[in-house]
């Protein structure tokens, strides 16, 4: 009983009750969007869905629909009056076939944890929720390949395959809620990309349903299969605009026997870069995560959630994690690295541990920042890939531009992947600030040849900015592919691609 008490401490409670914001304005009111020429939902349509799925798996009560209409950061709100919960690929196929014939727009939805408004309707699109498609179909302990339905929650998959000595190749703060289908559709990155790579590499196969209802079975469990175009990549990262992912086959790495973590304090961003180089040199093959947290970002969790920082205040903090097969070896490597980094004065203070409870606490410091920022008020979030030398400069630039008008301007993130999460929080939303920040942030990023959306995707909120990171020729080809695969534009409309001329 006491073990449960300790793990369900006040921090977890704060997580559940922290979203105190009122519901957001309707997307159609806040943003300048026009509803496409889609059919309106009729009783006849509803009757078809009820017939197909049964009463319990069709939601049309307005108050029940609300949570499906609002995104996790409470930025956008749609007006869907129909939430569907299929259990099988065949049901998804029949739904899409019907919607395509009747020109009904749909919005596929997994865990609804996306940060760019891609997972909720803009107008009255029918939500296709993968919540009930949550079966793991097979786990191959020798090859490490698993096959599961799109609605499996990432953390659940990790726990189940953990019993067989495997782990999912990606990890992110939303793991307790996000669905693997959503992760694949958005090509989610996360905390371990540094070590285990991108989903384009670890996803071996995808089963998806096309806009016209045709089931496309590319569900291979083979690591090597060069027989024709690699179609699965069409669905990895296209955010539900080319098809609805229904099953995935993933190559899962072995669960490491030895996990170690260090939380370090350094004086300057230069020290961060020096530490990173030394890490790669001295920890090399065992390094699995290298995350940056600036002073104001840590203040989010020590302030709002009263979490404990392991060390006194420093301008920058680094979170390092290692994965290996032998604890003695990894501890020795890590201790040697820490002793020399501290001896040389590059690292000023820190803590190191391999106790599961302590490591959980350290990760919570990093993973709770996103949610904690919401307590500041309204947050403008930017997820940028910037060349590593300039990585932090954008925070200073924004400070100069906006400075005291903001509650907080901070940066944290996957510095190991050159991916910064820039956040500007204000007491409330204002168009004036919005225009001061955008498109400046995107122009700045573009000038450094960076990405305006490193891992969060485009969704609804960034389709106007794709051109900052992709050439006109590339965007044209994307639109050609979209036209071919979804001629009626029913899949997740108003999102991902800019309006074609």
């Amino acid at each position: 009983m006491l073990r449960k008490l300790l793990t369900n401490g006040h921090i977890r409670c704060a997580r559940r009750f922290s979203s105190s914001k009122a519901i957001p304005e309707l997307t159609k009111d806040r943003y300048n969007v026009k509803r496409g020429e889609y059919s309106l939902l009729t009783d006849g349509h509803m009757a078809f869905f009820m017939n197909l799925l049964g009463q319990n798996r069709v939601i049309n009560d307005p108050s029940e629909c609300e949570s499906y209409n609002i995104d996790w950061i409470k930025n956008v709100r749609g007006q869907s009056r129909c939430i569907l919960k299929p259990r099988t690929t065949e049901e998804v196929s029949k739904i899409l076939e019907f919607c395509n014939e009747n020109k009904l727009a749909v919005c596929p939805q997994g865990g609804n944890t996306g940060l760019v408004g891609g997972s909720v309707p803009v107008f009255d699109e029918i939500v296709i929720s993968t919540a009930l498609m949550n079966q793991i179909e097979s786990i191959d302990e020798i090859s490490g390949v698993i096959v599961c339905q799109a609605g499996c929650i990432l953390e659940n998959i990790d726990q189940q395959i953990g019993e067989k000595g495997l782990m999912v190749p990606l990890d992110l703060g939303a793991k307790g809620s996000c669905h693997i289908g959503g992760n694949v559709s958005t090509n989610a990155g996360g905390l371990r990309l540094l070590r285990y790579g991108n989903l384009h590499g670890s996803v071996l196969g995808v089963e998806a349903v096309k806009a016209n209802g045709e089931i496309l079975d590319c569900l291979s469990t083979l690591k090597k299969d060069n027989t024709g175009y690699h179609l699965k990549h069409l669905f990895i990262g296209s955010e539900g605009s080319l098809g609805v992912v229904t099953k995935v086959a993933i190559q899962c790495p072995t669960k490491p026997k030895a996990i170690n973590m260090a939380f370090l304090g350094v004086e300057s961003f230069d020290s961060v870069l020096t530490t990173f180089r030394r890490c790669k040199n001295e920890l090399g093959e065992i390094l699995s995560s290298f995350e940056l947290i600036d002073a104001l970002s840590l203040d989010v969790v020590t302030g709002h959630y009263k979490m404990q920082s392991p060390i006194p205040q420093f301008p920058f903090y680094i979170l390092i994690e290692t994965h290996g097969s032998c604890n003695e070896h990894d501890e020795e490597k890590l201790n040697r690295f820490l002793e020399s980094a501290m001896g040389d004065g590059v690292v000023l203070d820190g803590t190191a541990t391999n106790q599961p409870s302590k490591m959980k606490q350290l990760w919570e410091l990093r993973e709770s920042i996103t949610q904690g920022l919401l307590m500041d008020g309204y947050v403008f979030k930017y997820d940028l890939s910037i060349p590593i030398k300039e990585f932090y400069a954008i925070v200073d630039v924004m400070n100069e531009k906006i400075g005291k008008d903001a509650v907080r301007i901070c940066g944290y993130g996957h510095i190991g992947d050159s991916n910064i999460h820039l956040n500007l929080s204000f007491k409330e939303y204002s168009k004036e600030m919005h225009n001061k920040i955008e498109p400046f942030v995107y122009e700045y990023t573009s000038s450094l040849k960076g990405s305006v959306s490193a891992e969060h995707g485009i969704g609804f909120r960034k389709s106007k900015y794709v051109h900052y990171s992709k050439s006109p020729a590339a965007i044209n080809l994307m639109q050609d592919i979209k036209r071919m695969m979804d001629p009626n534009k029913i899949l997740n409309p108003y999102k991902v691609l800019p309006e074609s001329s």
């Binding site: 009983m1 006491l2 008490l5 300790l6 939380f263 203070d349 820190g350 106790q355 599961p356 409870s357």
Partner: protein, 253 residues
């Protein structure tokens, strides 16, 4: 200033899933991550804070168990404890080591080291006994302040707020005394790198129960260890009549 003794126990880390051994004689500990009992961490933290406030002069951490118990003593040293004592107990005898034995060991060490305050965690998260503090106080005939959530030290006495079932109780007791730390006493510090490195040089004395004249022959025999029963899923019933029927069936009404 008081000389303080802290008892620290090596237990399976609270974030790790516990598995029962196939022979049902215990839980799997091989290859499983262990750490200091969380309530003992709180005890250590309290002692270190006393030292920082110059209320305590020296802190000694004691752990009873096989060789690996030294790990938690090292953690205590890294948190600010001055020296450690490892009472070495072979694995087989450790299985049946009970608070009755530990309390006698702590009492003997307290006498040897001229200790004024003993602080231990209120209970260990593996056996949940909640007996060591009380028994140690009885052996020494010292007052006990258990479930402490706030401690104030006067010249010759302690004022301790205790969390009890009915609410909060404030007591005064003379020193020397035994204290058991409860969850809200403090938030333990992380061991930081400079201190982890310093701790490597701090001494850990080794001794056996025999050296202390304590008999640790087993008083109990572990008959079996089993998983708690699996929680049965609920059933959705169509109407009130069905509910009443099921309640009658189960003998509830």
């Amino acid at each position: 200033m008081a000389r303080v003794l802290v008892g620290v126990k090596r237990v399976i880390d609270y974030a790790v899933k516990i598995r029962v051994k196939p022979d049902k004689k215990g839980v799997v500990t091989d290859g499983v991550k262990h750490s200091m009992n969380p309530f003992d961490e709180i005890a250590v933290e309290e002692a270190v804070r006393m030292k920082e406030k110059k209320i305590a002069s020296e802190i000694i951490a004691v752990s009873c168990g096989p060789a690996q118990s030294q790990e938690v003593i090292r953690t205590a040293l890294a948190m600010g404890v001055d020296k450690g004592i490892h009472v070495e107990i072979p694995a087989a005898e450790y299985e049946t080591l009970q608070p009755i034995h530990v309390s006698k060991i702590l009492a003997k060490i307290a006498e040897k080291e001229k200790i004024d305050l003993i602080i231990v965690g209120k209970q260990a998260i593996d056996d949940d006994s909640n007996q060591t503090a009380q028994m140690t106080a009885a052996v020494l005939d010292w007052p006990q302040a258990t479930f402490a959530s706030h401690i104030e030290k006067g010249d010759k006495e302690l004022t301790v707020k205790r969390e009890v079932d009915g609410g909060m109780e404030t007591i005064k007791c003379k020193i020397p005394a035994v204290i058991s730390a409860d969850l809200r006493l403090n938030e333990p510090r992380y061991a930081t790198l400079p201190n982890i490195m310093k701790a490597k040089k701090k001494p850990i004395a080794k001794m056996t129960p025999k050296d202390l004249g304590v008999d640790i022959s087993p008083r109990i025999e572990i008959v079996s260890v089993e998983d708690p029963p699996v929680r049965q899923p609920g059933v959705i019933l169509p109407d009130v009549d069905a509910l009443v029927g099921k309640l009658k069936e189960g003998g509830h009404i």
